[in-house]
Symmetry: C2
Subunit: 609 residues, 2 copies
Amino acid sequence: MFEAKFQTFDDTTSSDASAPRLAALRTELARRGLTGFVVPHADRHQSEYLTASEERLAWLSGFTGSAGTAIVMIGRAVLFVDGRYTLQSREQVDTSRFEIENIANTNPEQWIERTLSKSDVLGYDPWLHTVEGAERLAAACSNAGATVVALEDNPIDQVWHARPAPPVGPVTLHDIRYAGETAGTKLAQIRPEIARLKADALVVSDSHAVAWTFNIRGSDVTHTPLPLSFAVIPREGRPALFIDGRKLSNDVRHRLEELADVREPDSLNAELTALGAAGKTVRLDPRTGADALARLIKGAGGKATKGPDPVIALKAVKNAVEIEGARAAHLRDGAAVTRFLAWFEREAPSVRLTEIDAVMALETFRRETGALKDVSFPTISGAGPDGAIVHYRVTRKTNRAIAPGDLFLIDSGGQYLDGTTDITRTVIVGEPTPEMRDRFTRVLKGHIAIATAVFPDGATGAQLDPLARQALWRAGIDFDHGTGHGVGSYLSVHEGPASISKLGTVALKPGMILSNEPGYYKTGSYGIRIENLVLVTHGPFVAGAEKQLNAFETLTLVPIDRRLIARKLLTSDEVAWLDAYHTRVRKALTPLVDADTAAWLEAATQPLE
Amino acid sequence: MFEAKFQTFDDTTSSDASAPRLAALRTELARRGLTGFVVPHADRHQSEYLTASEERLAWLSGFTGSAGTAIVMIGRAVLFVDGRYTLQSREQVDTSRFEIENIANTNPEQWIERTLSKSDVLGYDPWLHTVEGAERLAAACSNAGATVVALEDNPIDQVWHARPAPPVGPVTLHDIRYAGETAGTKLAQIRPEIARLKADALVVSDSHAVAWTFNIRGSDVTHTPLPLSFAVIPREGRPALFIDGRKLSNDVRHRLEELADVREPDSLNAELTALGAAGKTVRLDPRTGADALARLIKGAGGKATKGPDPVIALKAVKNAVEIEGARAAHLRDGAAVTRFLAWFEREAPSVRLTEIDAVMALETFRRETGALKDVSFPTISGAGPDGAIVHYRVTRKTNRAIAPGDLFLIDSGGQYLDGTTDITRTVIVGEPTPEMRDRFTRVLKGHIAIATAVFPDGATGAQLDPLARQALWRAGIDFDHGTGHGVGSYLSVHEGPASISKLGTVALKPGMILSNEPGYYKTGSYGIRIENLVLVTHGPFVAGAEKQLNAFETLTLVPIDRRLIARKLLTSDEVAWLDAYHTRVRKALTPLVDADTAAWLEAATQPLE
């Protein structure tokens, strides 16, 4: 009845092969005179989701998280992960061969400083490290007295037999009805930025930025409609797009060639070398651009100036068409998720639903909208203790039956032509404990604090993040991830440059879409997260205001489980927000759902007592 | 009757001489083949308060703020200041010769990137720029295609005739009754840190850190009991203290020589060169250490590893004796400030008091405690529009009579052997307007939000700063400075590494003392700031807490003007905090003040209606 077409539940990884693979890699390192090698979770574009051909870290260690780095020395190996992945990494990795470090305690650079010595020669692949990352690596090695070497080719590729071929997913043009602006208009916005930055050309190394600029979408990467590609945009003259020609139909190629030279990826090296040899100044984003790009430009005699890629900032601010698309996508997606929640509440007490059942049902409801292109990431479906694993991915092995008394956390999203969604709801099966109610309500208070925040133009996500934590801090608890990330428009569900987190130093601008997702995780017991997407908007107008004020419009439209709320912990303003939100959800969704779901929705959106 | 002994009201600066001085500097630059030169507000130790001999920026431009940088090119000159100094700089500087830039809009590096070209050669004095500052300068010049040159000597010193001699203020030993720990104990804490950092030696370039380590105080700098000095602390063996011998009595010298070699500042170069030549790894704080220090070490073949000076972190966490000292100093200081406020309220309506009268009275009351060693900074005494100038310093020329209806802001502090204080109160003369009440109450709400904050161990000042702004943001207003800075123990009133500000990325630890000083400034009308010092403390204990929680204990004990409070804007929790604070203030101070002041205090600390 239900089926998942866009995600699998296989254990795609195992650490069984770690021992021989580590041994083979160490032999290769020794052959090259290296005493160590850095293995990041990265490709040449710093994509979040890697193609199978780029999964070197998973191949070596078994770890499949979306972020992590291993350092393999001759005598030991260490895997560095962030707070999201400390549990998962211990389960996936052979800890007799890999030490695990939480980067909040020791990051790779600190480890290098403390551990390496003068006799060490540490290699890295300059295509897989950003300019800044390579600088940090070099500084750490220098501080340790060790030598660092940028390698011509990746030693893992030498020992990885049966490495998959890179993908050649077909490219489509992203229709102006969804993109809102032509590629020509976008290039006309980018060129003055290049001039303002006093550069002769811009290297666009982030495939998302390339896709946005040229209004193309692809299918190289799971869950993100991304064609892996580079672009070089000169201040004047035709841009060049570097993309595997097998991805392009004749029609797409002709349309692209109206604006740009279309070349094979191999010719990027020649292009950068030519720019360098001509003494050109080339702008490169040191946070996303590969160290190898800067080396090519500088090696040929050019200048690589470092600073944010202006395309990233332009892309983050959605235009009016994209915003209308996001609203439409959230309405459609909200109806599907609400149908799921109604089904779940009906079925869960009687049938022993599993986490996988839930994923399949939710994906099916989304597919039945007729508009789903893909899920926007692998659904996190965690019952009881699985909910405490922040980036849990259910497999047939971990699949758990959802039992009465369980908190059930489900974090999912859809890719639609008009927008990308991302929503988390946490619901109770049966009766919650008072502790669950207390924790859920504190998470909700944080969620409402963000939803109702008012902040002056120029305020950053770092300045909002603490608001989401106040009610948790008062109880001596917290969550070990940011409060929100940027979201693309039929692009990546995790998009820069803005975020609501300690590291979110970019100003939030009207038109940006971010997630609002505080949580609480009790290891071994349960996880709670409440996530809506929000749009940064102008306003409110306040008499006597000296600053332009901004605020958030909540885009996601799905009920929040009222059974989990401890009413007495909420202020009257917070109750008013929740009741108004539920009224809005009911009015918006009722016309879109079946009768059973409508009845459930009616009950689920009643005002709090 | 009243007198200021520790501060003056002269116009110590004028921009009249800017034209010939700029011309002389430009001639000198041209002679050296430079097209530009950077003039920071800095000395070799990155001290905040400069000795007269180091006031190059004021000598050249007339600008006397505590932070700023000029860039002098052949054809133009620009002064970069932060938000505190945009008004003051326009008043002090000849704006026909210096353009003024707010660094929030354009910082020097951005200006360099945009303005300089390949033909430019920009010089800087590597003793006056930190390692990080010099790196940023070099990157900006590189991005602009310009050349940057570290100069052997400072061109301003060549053209500054009658430049004052450096000070040789006598050094005293800071008694263990105030310091709480011997220099030997402190060195025993520092050495393991050097080992942990894998360094052979640590260069202590910040004179405050040297003073803390060796328990010495001095009088080279106004308002900070600081002997300008460097130290080199090896992982093993005797440390070396580099200090002008004329500052040392025989007794002090002998006591210091029990622990360290005492050498002349000139011999620092030889020491660093020797460490470098021996291939040693020397730790240097790139945020405070001069670029010249790193150049000396590296030039001789050594390694300069960059990272926070561990002494700064040790110094920031006050020991039990320092904390008791701080409480005693604040009690004493609170009595003096309260005596001032009572006097002010008595006198202001009938006598036409001026801003200078207020400064002299307050300093006199502080001196009459018998314990005042100095004021901790020049008192900011601003009536009406002068209060809106964030770092206003009253002079005979600007001195304003305080009129009925004026808001009066007074920010001041004392240096006592047992502690350093810093307090701002804003009071009304006569009747406030409703707008003043609204603004004052919003500032107070921010102040209370910080005073009552509860946060997990590891939380940073950046995570608390937004709490101080929420009530202001709701009204479309804000303040253009951080919420709080660290404070030393009979040392600098501005102390790193922690701060409550956007840039406060250092974790707040129990034992740190910081200011809590949100404000609001209406240009041309009035300024409001409410500042107490707070101590980071352990606690509270909360059942079910998973994190160690920390909170603040307010140290400052002086009433807050109840006449300026719009009661209806406060929550009941906020009213409870204020009433409890006032009760505490009344009980603590009544035994310490005269009858008139006690009567005033009684009235001023009554609960809100």
